[in-house]
């Protein structure tokens, strides 16, 4: 069953007197539990597609369904709640809250949900910080961490609400190769243990060996799909 369904999605951006067609009729079905990679060169539309899937951007045409819910029909509050409960984000630049320490950054989405008890929150945050190997840095602020450590915090934060899907836009772009591999391995492990669907974009061929499914995008169109690379 598809946890993400993208149908005939188009996205146009006005640029001066011209229009940039970032996505041109993209159709995509991503099954639950996938470890899915969108590849393509810079400017091909990877980030736009991820943004639209993550309800960060709206399509000009077409529909997107997340876990069976058509996102284009939702209002701002519903979309915010959908992002909080069903989606997790890992950004290229980590995007942690600078004034909160590791623990508090990971805890943040759970506190926004207002549905968990303190004990549950503590257990969940503790488990995830341990899973990303940052027990020793739990009280460090993002500025005191390396790039790889920050991305681990971002992964833990994305996973803390137990979302259906985690979207990662070039998660290793700002990391060295060794750290990149360890991050991807961590994501892959979590995909297997937590059964969370991971969708990530990259243009790094080295990253691809971790993906189970790959689609290639070029000039806003999907041009190639490959199943079970590994």
């Amino acid at each position: 069953m598809s946890v993400i369904s993208v149908k005939r999605v188009e996205r146009d951006y006005p640029l001066g007197k011209t229009t940039v067609h970032a996505l041109r009729g993209v159709d995509l079905e991503i099954p639950e539990g996938s470890f899915f990679s969108i590849i393509g060169p810079s400017g091909s539309g990877k980030t736009t597609l991820l943004n639209i899937i993550g309800c960060i951007d709206n399509p000009t045409a077409g529909t997107v369904s997340i876990d069976g819910e058509e996102t284009t029909k939702l209002n701002d509050k519903q979309i915010t709640d959908l992002r909080l409960h069903k989606l997790g984000f890992i950004f290229q630049n980590f995007n942690l809250i600078p004034v909160l320490n590791v623990w508090e950054n990971v805890e943040f989405p759970l506190l926004l949900m207002k549905t968990h008890r303190k004990k549950e929150i503590k257990a969940r945050v503790e488990k995830l910080i341990a899973a990303v190997g940052l027990e020793q840095h739990a009280h460090h602020k993002p500025a005191e961490l390396s790039g790889g450590q920050r991305q681990r915090v971002a992964i833990a934060r994305a996973l803390v609400t137990n979302p259906k899907i985690i979207l990662a836009d070039e998660p290793t772009a700002n990391l060295d190769s060794e750290t990149s591999h360890s991050i991807l391995k961590l994501m892959r492990d979590l995909n297997e243990t937590e059964k969370t669907t991971f969708v990530f974009s990259t243009h790094d061929p080295d990253v691809l060996k971790y993906a189970k499914s790959i689609v290639q995008i070029k000039d806003g169109k999907l041009v190639h799909a490959e199943e079970e690379v590994i």
Binding site: T47, N51, G54, C55, I56, D57, D76, K77, T80, D81, R83, L84, H85, G88, F89, F91, Q92, N93, N95, I97, P98, V99, L100, E104, F108, P109, L111, L112, M113, R157, A158, T161, D169
Partner: protein, 507 residues
């Protein structure tokens, strides 16, 4: 600590520079607002104490025939004030629950008579001194002599008038029966202390509405100094009301006491001039006994006796009214004027501000200027804080956009921003208010005094006594709250418009 407060608190420490700028503005705004409000309150209290409670009351009632309301400080027009024609009916209205106390009086300008010297004018307030002191207790102090008794002839000369009299006429008033107090002499007069011409009475001349003039001689019983605003009120000498009435040909208390027989009333009722003399026995032979008349005896025979009189029985040209506690001047004026109009009393009630003309207007203007000053601070603070917060919001687009992306609602982010501003406002605004309170305390302790009339109006009296009441404190806190809320409204709009895409786009 709730999450939103925690983030807000830490963000303040993270953006120390901007927060200090905002904090400084809030501090200065709160400081100036506190001090400004205290000055306004001090001025209000001072004006109430030194004008309303000491000289005019809240309201002044004057004749409806009076063409202008400035009856107390615009007497140089030469026109005497119109007499209140039916004072007894007006007095009955004064039983109203809205009226706390009232004092009928006369005010006007008279000419000082001094053979061979320049004419000098005096502003006189004619009162029943007993009632005056009950109405305005302690509004002057006697520096020499004494206050004349009720029913006694006499005048109280203010220091300012004594000085002016010396400058124009070269004589120095000394109360009757008193000797010269050298220490009280002005500097110029001191040099001539041995040859100084002393005067213990004042001969003045008033004019009636019909244009006739009457002169009166009254003994100076005391020299006075008004407790406050001496430069303004110090022009007014206080005279017994009967002397004032005689000088202006008003009906005096003595006149009212005269009983006229029926036949004389019939005689006075005759219209035809000839009938007055149409009697057979108009002229009769008589025998004159004695052949010499002493002038002093004749004079004595025609002098009005200072017998106990009903001083309230004569004429008045104004009534000072103090309103009951809690009654606003506006309500008091409206009510009294309605009653006067309904009963055709031919009088009108005017505000104390109107009754003192320019001084009242200046008091209102000074107050308005202070209020405008406070409002300007208010406005400038809002603009600067709003601008700085908007800049801060725009600089944190990535952070705010990311929070939105991971599930924070607009309300959460707005609350976070509001908390940041609120904390700054609470801390720096609180400091500003505390500093303002401290300054007000020191200003009161410093007891700054002035002789300048304009400053006296700003101060509400001779000394600068800003007051910080609980109400002022609450107003200050409310104003600070309003500044905070108004200045954060636009930045909140900016925050509300930040979308998750902004976080990604900045990447």
């Amino acid at each position: 600590m709730p999450l939103v407060l925690k983030i807000a608190w830490r963000n303040i420490w993270r953006h120390k520079g901007k927060c200090l700028v905002i904090g400084l503005i809030l501090f200065l705004g709160a400081f100036f607002m506190t001090v400004g409000n205290s000055i306004i309150s001090g001025m209000n209290a001072g004006l109430t104490e030194n004008i309303v409670n000491s000289f005019t009351g809240d309201i002044v009632i004057i004749s409806d025939e009076q063409d202008h309301n400035n009856v107390l400080l615009d007497m140089m027009s030469g026109k005497p004030l119109k007499v209140i024609r039916n004072y007894e009916a007006v007095e009955q209205v004064m039983d109203d629950a809205l009226v706390h106390a009232f004092l009928p009086a006369t005010a006007g300008v008279v000419m000082g008579l001094e053979p061979g010297a320049e004419m000098i004018t005096y502003m006189l307030l004619g009162v029943n001194i007993e009632r005056y002191q009950q109405m305005f207790p302690g509004n002057f102090r006697v520096t020499e002599g004494r206050v004349f008794n009720s029913g006694e002839r006499g005048i109280l000369i203010p220091e300012l008038v004594r000085t002016a009299s010396y400058e124009f006429l070269d004589y120095w008033f000394v109360p009757q029966g008193e000797s010269l107090v050298v220490e009280n002499l002005m500097e110029d007069a001191f040099a001539y202390k041995h040859s100084l011409e002393l005067r213990s009475d004042l001969v003045f001349m008033g004019s009636s509405h019909s244009g006739s003039f009457f002169d009166v001689q009254v003994p100076v019983t005391g020299i006075i100094e008004y407790r406050a605003l001496n430069k303004i009120w110090g022009n007014y000498a206080i005279v017994d009301i009967e002397s004032f009435r005689e000088a202006h040909n008003y009906v005096t208390g003595a006149d009212s006491a005269i009983e006229v027989s029926e036949d004389r009333l019939d005689l006075l009722a005759l219209n035809a001039f000839d009938e007055l003399f149409d009697f057979d026995d108009l002229l009769a032979d008589t025998v004159v006994e004695g052949d010499s008349f002493n002038f002093e005896e004749l004079q004595q025979a025609f002098v009005r006796e200072d017998s106990p009189l009903d001083l309230d029985a004569g004429s008045f040209n104004l009534v000072f009214v103090k309103l009951a506690e809690g009654v606003s001047q506006k309500d008091g004026l409206a009510h009294l004027n309605q009653v006067f109009s309904d009963n055709n009393l031919n009088v009108r009630a005017v505000s104390w501000q109107d009754s003192v003309g320019l001084i009242g207007s200046m008091a209102v203007m000074v107050k308005a200027a202070l209020n405008i000053f406070v409002m300007c601070i208010f406005f400038v603070a809002i603009i600067i804080i709003m601008n700085t917060l908007s800049m801060a919001a725009l600089e944190r687009v990535t952070e705010i956009g990311m929070m939105r992306a991971i599930g924070a609602r607009k309300g959460f982010l707005k609350t976070m921003f509001l908390c940041e501003t609120g904390m700054l406002s609470f801390f720096f605004g609180g400091l500003g208010i505390a500093a303002g309170v401290t300054l007000v305390y020191f200003l009161r302790a410093a007891n700054i005094t002035t002789e300048n009339e304009i400053l006296q109006l700003v101060y509400g009296g001779n000394s600068f006594h800003p007051i910080l009441t609980a109400t002022d404190f609450l107003i200050g806190v409310t104003e600070l709250g309003i500044v905070t809320v108004l200045s954060v409204l636009y930045p909140l709009r900016v925050v509300g418009k930040i979308v998750p895409l902004d976080a990604v786009a900045r990447d």
